[in-house]
Amino acid sequence: MDRPFNLSLLAVGFSAALAGALTFDPGMLFLLTEIMVVLLLAQMWNLLAGFGGLVSLGQQAFFGLGGYLLFIGANGTQIPFWVWLGVTPLFVGLLAVPIGLVVFHLKNAYFAVGMWVVAEILSALFLRLDFLGGSAGIVLRPGGASMTTNPERLLFFIAAFGFVATIVALRMFLKSTIGLALLGMRDNPDGAAACGVDVRRMHLLVFVISAIGCAAGGALYYITTLYISAGDAFQMNWLIIMMFVSIIGGLGTLTGPILGTLIFFAIREAMTSAGFSGGTYWIVMGALAVAVLLLAPRGLWPLIRNSFIRKTGKATR
């Protein structure tokens, strides 16, 4: 039942990504790639907070690292940046191990803010490093030469298909023995520990996966912009997006963050085209997040799903 579904999801995702990449105009592809990046980021924050029970306010650290390391690698060597797109996230995942080992000493809210401090340190550090352009940032020049064409079609395909593949991988992961242990640990940490689940290792695992995903998002995103700066790459807004869309859509579900992302972009695009200034949609998103937290702390998707189940009388995922 599950295997055919996953396979057809992959097939549909592949064709949709391909069709989209070939038909949309560059402006649309840029927006759609951004949406795919946010979908990925939201899923990564959701994996950490919703499934792993670790609320982090510093995932923008990995997003920024992903972008910067890709630029450093691509600009400094002759290796094509597509290779770096694959390698960089794994490297960031490695970096996440020592970071996690330190920050895990902080619990709950302290962990959350501790991660934020990590992101701030990286931000300040990258701002200070002159060979990275300091506050001016750097332009993507693979092998030292300027980009002549914008690879938006291939990028969109990678982002879209990559996201679908991530969802399928997460579905399989959550059904696996490790995934089930993870869910058990979230619902009852002491009980899971008593059953022999190594809580620390499980936390480290989701932390590293989340870091890899966030780094991939950063690498993808900054190829589309062709330019990166510390003020942008490590900014809090990346975290706010992934957090708000997960909370609004529904933490601990795979569909919730997708719903939240769609709501976020619908509000942003509608408000920007209606002429509201940049900050106004953040006010709306913040108010929406607070309202959801107070009225339906499990998010909108579980609410919709439950009312659907009640109406039709059967369970759907």
């Binding site: 000493h105 709950n108 803010v113 107070l294």
Partner: protein
């Protein structure tokens, strides 16, 4: 050389006193409400902007009234936010819900401030305090740092007396020890929560006014101040007002000294100091 060191130390201590104030507010809310209030930084910037607005309306307003105005405005705002949102969020068993709620509130407040005042940095000058200075034994001390130091000490003393000597303080400590039993003996938890939130917000506003006079302030400043407040709480120990001031002074001195040697450092060395201590504590197992 000695002269510069003393002056640097003095500056560091005065800045650290302000950090101690914002840290003590955060520690107080965490100790009593069990909520890490992520909108604490916004109280600091809003306090500063209230002062900017007051001085804009009445340029000759004495500093005491400017501080009082900022304190009252933010205390009311803090009380309102606690009563309307945070208290409700605290009803959920998951402690992350109130924290994320305060984060949402912070985003809303920050962007509301951007919409009303613009995103630019603003300076604040009350009664020429930033320019005047006092000479003492061949060394010059700015009048502003002196006022800051006095205020920090004043807040520290008032807060300690409030917690140790008053009925309110008794209720605060009881609530922080055993919230259930406190309710049994008739302590009105919600009312105390609101008072604590108002107090923390008010003190944050005082610190915000003085921080804005020292440097300048933008709607985005709250984020860095919140992080410093958090670092102060972790380093100084939970619910310890004295520890908060000690940690504040440490971070303040680090910031002043590092900016002396590296003008563009910003808060880098402050954060690195915090993180290094954290790592050392983690390795030596002195962290729970």
């Amino acid at each position: 050389m000695i002269q510069t060191s003393v002056e640097l130390l003095f500056q560091g201590i005065t800045l650290g006193g302000l950090y101690g104030i914002i840290g003590a507010g955060l520690a107080l809310t965490f100790g009593i409400l069990r909520v890490v209030n992520l909108s604490h930084g916004e109280m600091i910037t809003i306090g500063a902007f209230v002062a900017v607005a007051l001085v804009g309306m009445v340029p000759t307003l004495p500093i005491a009234l400017v501080l009082a105005g900022a304190f009252v405005a933010c205390a009311l705002l803090g009380a309102f936010l606690q009563a309307a949102f945070v208290e409700r969020a605290m009803a959920f068993r998951d402690p992350m819900v109130p924290m994320l709620t305060t984060f949402g509130i912070a985003v809303v407040l920050r962007n509301l401030l951007v919409e009303t005042t613009g995103a630019d940095l603003r300076g604040l000058n009350v009664g020429g305090l930033a320019q005047s200075s006092i000479s003492l034994g061949g060394m010059t001390f700015g009048a502003l740092p002196l006022v800051t130091l006095l205020l920090a000490i004043g807040v520290f003393v008032i807060l300690s007396l409030l917690i140790r000597r008053t009925t309110f303080g008794r209720e605060v400590r009881a609530l922080s020890d055993r919230p259930e039993i406190a309710a049994l003996v008739g302590v009105r938890g919600k009312r105390v929560h609101i008072k604590v939130a108002a107090l923390a917000a008010g003190f944050a506003a005082l610190a915000g006014v003085l921080l804005a006079m020292r440097a300048s302030v933008s709607p985005y400043s709250g984020v860095s101040y919140l992080l410093i407040a958090f670092e102060v709480v972790v380093l100084g120990g939970l619910g310890s007002i004295r520890g908060a001031f000690a940690a504040g002074v440490l971070l303040g001195v680090v910031q002043i000294v590092s900016s002396r040697f590296d003008g563009n450092a910003g808060l880098l060395y402050v954060h690195v100091t915090f993180f290094t201590i954290l790592v050392i504590r983690a390795i030596s197992g002195r962290l729970s």
